[in-house]
């Protein structure tokens, strides 16, 4: 009884902290640092940006808090798609497509495979005790304010970005000049991964 009560109190306290922080952040901090000229109605591009951002956040929340692991995968899918769309907004078209190919075509499919190989159909995985949601909230309360304040308060140099330009050729040039050594190291890492994954996932030989 006592334990339950103290747990509840901890939860309430943390929730209060988070709510206070968010309230302060939204009402006091954000308005001052938003770009001026709110009177201008948002344009089509902005709306698409907000939609992508909202989808990304929703997907991320789904990954972290969903109780069904397959829904976590769907959340990851949505978050990855949203981030890829944001890369396009940041005029990083090549990376956006690489993100689609590697994360969704590779990582997400692998994860789905792992989920299907290791779960009985319909089984629900409940998250729980060790650190629990309380611990999670505590970490959130500790880290989120810092990161968000840094993101919003620091006067990052505002430079009007250039027009959308193809990046593929420039990335290629960079890889074969400035980043040549890391590039080669990355390929060695990938090769080692290939071998390592095969060795680990292979069935044990019966001989010995």
């Amino acid at each position: 009884m006592n334990r339950t009560f103290s747990k509840l109190a901890l939860w309430a306290f943390l929730a209060l902290l988070v709510a206070l922080f968010l309230g302060y952040f939204i009402t006091r901090v954000l308005p001052d640092y938003l770009p001026a000229g709110r009177a201008v109605p948002p344009r089509l591009g902005d709306l698409v940006f907000y939609a992508c951002a909202a989808a990304t956040v929703a997907g991320a929340a789904g990954v972290a808090f969903s109780r069904n692991i397959v829904w976590s995968c769907i959340g990851l899918l949505i978050a990855l798609l949203g981030t890829a769309a944001l890369y396009v907004f940041l005029s990083a078209d090549f990376l956006a497509v690489a993100q689609l190919l590697v994360y969704i075509g590779g990582v997400l499919v692998l994860i789905l495979f792992a989920v299907m190989l290791t779960n009985r159909i319909g089984e629900v995985n409940v998250s729980n005790q060790s650190l629990g949601l309380g611990g999670g909230l505590a970490v959130f309360a500790a880290v989120a304010p810092l990161l968000m304040l840094v993101a919003v308060l620091v006067p990052w140099p505002v430079r009007p970005p250039g027009p959308m330009a193809p990046t593929t050729a420039r990335i290629g040039d960079e890889f074969l000049s400035t980043w040549l050594l890391p590039f080669e190291v990355a390929s060695v890492v990938l090769l080692a991964t290939l071998v390592g994954a095969v060795v680990m996932a292979r069935k044990e030989l019966k001989a010995d």
Partner: protein
């Protein structure tokens, strides 16, 4: 009007925090895995935001390496997951602690 860099950084911060909460509070290793991917994505978003601000390609190059390493991590990590599941029949992190002692 273009979206200012602060928004992208804020979004990256939110993504990172969600990932962090997931890593700390979930026990299924696959979910932890996905949350790590989320955090890597948040880092990539930050790199690309600054790459646009600076007008250079360095952010793109680093983000590319992050993607490559994430793919490697997924392959090895999931191979370990499958191997662990095959020998122990569980994916709950706290129960896989043979190496502790």
């Amino acid at each position: 009007m273009t979206i200012s860099a602060n928004w992208y950084l804020l979004l990256a911060a939110v993504l990172f925090c969600f990932g962090l909460v997931g890593v700390v509070s979930r026990r299924n290793i696959l979910v932890v895995f996905m949350c790590v991917e989320l955090m890597l994505n948040a880092a990539n978003l930050t790199f690309l935001t600054f790459a646009r601000q600076q007008g250079t390609m360095n952010g793109h190059a680093i983000a590319f390496f992050v993607i490559a390493v994430a793919a490697a991590e997924a392959a090895v990590g999931l191979a370990i997951v499958i191997a662990v599941f095959r020998t122990r029949g569980t994916l709950w992190m706290d129960e896989v602690s043979t190496l502790k002692n």
